[in-house]
């Protein structure tokens, strides 16, 4: 009996690999290459020990602690320590996202689509699909850990020894496995894949916030977050392996839970029952905009809360930031000191650029929803009624624009509301809000790119996500890694005036807006002319 539950796991594992034979290598290679490139870049940028000590000072900054974790090994700041401080957390998050998406795609999403039913009607075990998914996701993470570990060691950078490199890889791999198992549990508990992905991401986000709070405070709280465990390895300095063991143990508990839940439930059901819906549509649900909003409502509300919390958590470190900045004067690299601006102010643009890019995610999701709907053959319900294509696309577009306003407003308001409590001087709401809203034109360009792709290349809408990732890398890491300026200039976020440090540059903002308008109009024209899926 027990054995028959897993029958054909091997075949299904190979089938999973076959289905993702492009996706998995793309994820692994891009993350590995990014890791190697950044590691090599540090050696060029900070050649002397003095350069590195300069960077070490910035790591004592609470803003940095909240963002990337508490610095360690700062007395003798080696390349390894720099690498681990700057890159480990964000890479771990990326690996977690990859693992969550993989697991839900192969479990609940297949189940929702009725494909698991087909598989189960064949002589396969009841737990074989979950088992195959778990085996493959673990295998992929182990492979990634080895690639990164051996690769970093092979780069031959001073202070990046074999043990440290392997630990670096292992920390990434076990984080991926942990969040894969979180997703596996939610995939059993919830009846729909979007909910499973959403809740898994929520756990990831909360883990980040708990760790941030812990790292800015006394550090105890960080041990309640799996992302805190990653950083607790203190790779390349102390090389603690026990957080890896801790993460594996926690992941094992989740795995057992997921298998148990899968074993006791019916196919297609979950543990959180679906509520009955309304009998009739509300007054809001009367056209493409109403529909577009209705189907994204839950997601948008979750994002709104998330963005506000991120803003508020960055705002809450402003007090610490202030006292820290009074002590330390050496603030090169991350920000270029400007005489006239207060030191706290100089961190606002950096925080805002990150929040603006995070806020772009729900905005793009709401535009691209239209293509998702098209692929699921639901747009034809609308287009076969008295709805023009222009009106349909305009519905998505309007929601995206409103979302861009709402998300940036929440980011700015969150930052201000928490910041104003902890800062001694007055923190002007207008200043903060303006620094947030100035990113609107950049978001509009991203919307424009998305609309253009919807109009002309609906199969390739994923490119806009790649563009956002690129923007994140060049804008966030650009200063640190001293990328040539043209690289940042390729991203709309690189052109936004750094309020409140810089003056407002209406010219740049107008040009971005015009580009956004042109892209959008072109996209609308394309959308009217092409075949629907």
């Amino acid at each position: 009996m027990a054995k028959s539950m897993y029958k054909n796991t091997g075949r299904l594992s190979r089938f999973n690999l076959r289905r993702d034979r492009i996706r998995i290598p793309v994820w692994l290679l891009s993350l590995a290459v990014l890791t190697f490139v950044v590691a090599l870049a540090f050696t060029d940028l900070y050649e002397t020990a003095e350069d590195r000590q300069g960077i070490a000072e910035t790591m004592k900054n609470p803003a940095m602690e909240a963002m990337v974790g508490k610095g360690y090994g700062l007395d003798n700041y080696t390349y390894g320590a720099i690498m681990a401080n700057q890159m480990l957390l964000f890479t771990a998050i990326a690996v977690a996202i990859m693992s969550i998406l993989f697991v839900v795609r192969h479990t609940r999403e297949d189940e929702e689509g009725g494909r698991i039913e087909l598989i189960r009607s064949l002589p396969t075990g009841r737990l074989a699909n979950l088992n195959a998914t778990v085996i493959v996701v673990c295998g992929v993470n182990v492979l990634f850990a080895l690639i990164v570990g051996l690769g970093l060691y092979a780069l031959g950078i001073e202070s990046m020894d074999l043990e440290g490199s392997l630990l670096y890889g292992a920390a990434l791999g076990v984080t991926g496995v942990f969040f894969a198992m979180v997703a596996a549990v939610f995939a059993q508990a919830l009846e729909n894949s979007r909910g499973a992905v959403g809740l898994s991401f929520a756990v990831l986000g909360v883990s980040y916030l708990i760790r941030a709070a812990g790292d800015v405070g006394d550090g105890v709280l960080s041990w309640f977050s799996p992302l805190g465990w990653v950083l607790g390895t203190e790779v390349y300095v102390n090389n603690y392996w026990w957080p890896i063991v801790l993460t594996i143990a926690a992941a094992t508990v989740l795995t057992v839970l997921a298998f148990y839940l899968n074993a006791i439930r019916d196919l297609g059901s979950g543990f959180i029952p679906a509520k009955p819906g309304r009998k009739h549509a509300s007054a809001l649900l009367r056209g493409p905009i109403g529909l577009s909003f209705r189907i994204q409502r839950t997601g948008l509300i979750a994002w709104a809360i998330g963005i506000y919390v991120i803003g508020a958590s960055y705002g809450s470190i402003f007090g610490d930031l202030e006292s820290f900045l009074e002590e330390v004067e050496m603030m090169q690299e991350l920000i270029n000191p400007v005489e006239s601006a207060s030191l706290t102010d100089q961190f606002i643009p950096m925080l805002m650029s990150i929040m603006a890019m995070i806020s772009t995610v729900p905005v793009l999701m709401s535009v691209l929803k239209l293509v998702g709907e098209e692929r699921k053959e639901r747009t034809e319900h609308l287009l076969s009624r008295a709805v023009s294509r222009t009106r349909l696309l305009a519905g998505s577009f309007v929601i995206a624009i409103v979302t861009s306003f709402a998300m940036l407003s929440l980011a700015g308001t969150g930052l201000w509301s928490a910041g104003t409590v902890v800062v001694e001087d007055e923190l002007g709401f207008g200043k903060i809000y303006g620094a947030a809203m100035v990113y609107l034109p950049a978001m509009w360009v991203m919307i424009g790119v998305a609309v253009l792709l919807i109009g002309f290349a609906p199969r390739f809408t994923g490119l806009v996500w790649a563009y956002l990732c690129y923007s994140f890398i060049v804008v966030y890491l650009g200063n640190l890694l001293k990328f040539p300026s043209w690289m940042a200039n390729l991203s709309p976020y690189g052109h936004i005036p750094q309020l409140p440090v810089d003056n407002m540059d209406y010219m740049k903002v107008s040009v971005l807006t015009i580009i956004a308008v042109v892209l959008t109009i072109a996209g609308f024209i394309g959308y009217r002319k092409r075949d629907m899926y």
């Binding site: 929702e112 009846e191 509520k275 819906g277 549509a281 649900l285 009367r286 639901r378 319900h381 008295a386």
Partner: protein
């Protein structure tokens, strides 16, 4: 008067020709059956009609307007039910029906509630929990709740039980009584036979036969089962006789409809004891057109 007119429609996806010089007409007040095997181009044709796909060549007019350019104007007067009804998993059936009705405009709440009851649909359930048949009911209720001049139905009953299929047929006949037109793409040939005035048969992107059922029946064969006092001589040599088989004392064979008179005259002379004849069904017609690689239509 034709409400819908397709002339010389060709649709290519890259190098693949999905539709090749399709010509078709649906007249006012008629129910037109659109039949063909899977992948023949029925849904592609319908999507061109809806302005969802753009014709590579040819002219497609509904109500005298261009299906691509005036899609929105046309859609104000048509109702469409797709074969695969994909709905939003987190909306309830009732919400979807209301949304579809609002998109078309017009207020027909009584009709809607009546149809929901007739189709025995629970509108408070989320679409994700509906079966295929129930999703189809949602689309059917939304379509028939409104007054439309042309109903485009793409295999609308493939998931319905026989009881619901009857309700559906009533809806179609009701629309026809009001002088509305229906384009019904279907696989259920008995349904097409019952409802349709004319049929068009499509195969591999080409319309191979159009006409009223009676007209098309001329193109097919009648099955005969005959028992005679003396054995029938020279049956094989007669023109238009096919598939001769022996059943106990009787002979069974098929006769081309146009040769029926000659054949009957011939066999009467052998003294008929028993005669059973079955009219050609649409199924026979269908089978003859689809079996084998050649165009069977030319052989009859």
């Amino acid at each position: 008067m034709s409400l819908l007119k397709i002339s010389g429609l060709t649709k290519k996806f890259g190098k693949f020709t999905a539709l090749d010089d399709v010509n078709m007409e649906v007249n006012e007040g008629e129910v037109f059956g659109f039949i063909g095997p899977n992948g023949a181009g029925k849904s592609t044709t319908i999507r061109v009609l809806l302005g969802i796909l753009k014709a590579t060549e040819g002219e497609v007019k509904i109500f005298g307007k261009d299906a691509w350019k005036d899609a929105v104007e046309i859609h104000k007067r048509i109702a469409y039910v797709p074969g695969d009804v994909n709905l939003w998993p987190n909306l309830s059936g009732g919400e979807v029906i209301d949304l579809f009705m609002k998109l078309r405009g017009g207020n027909h709440k009584d009709r809607r509630d009546e149809l929901i009851q007739k189709f025995d649909l629970d509108p408070t359930k989320k679409c994700r929990t509906y079966s295929k048949g129930n999703r189809q009911k949602v689309a059917l209720v939304a379509a028939f709740s409104l007054e439309a001049d042309l109903y485009i139905l793409d295999e609308p009953t493939s998931g319905l039980d026989p009881l619901m299929e009857k309700v559906f047929q009533e809806c179609v006949l009701d629309a026809k009584k009001k002088g509305k037109s229906v384009l019904l793409s279907s696989h259920i040939l008995s349904e097409v036979e019952k409802l349709c005035d004319r049929v068009g048969i499509i195969r591999q992107g080409e319309i191979i036969e159009t006409g009223s059922l009676d007209e098309l029946r001329h193109l097919t064969r009648t099955s005969l089962l005959v028992e005679t006092k003396q054995p029938i001589a020279n049956l094989k040599q007669l023109q238009g006789v096919h598939d001769i088989g022996e059943k106990e004392q009787a002979l069974s064979f098929q006769v081309d409809t146009e040769e029926l008179d000659n054949v009957m005259n011939h066999i009467t002379s052998f003294g008929i004891v028993k005669l059973e004849s079955a009219p050609p069904t649409l199924e026979d017609l269908f089978m003859r057109h689809y079996e084998g690689p050649g165009k069977a239509g030319g052989a009859s």
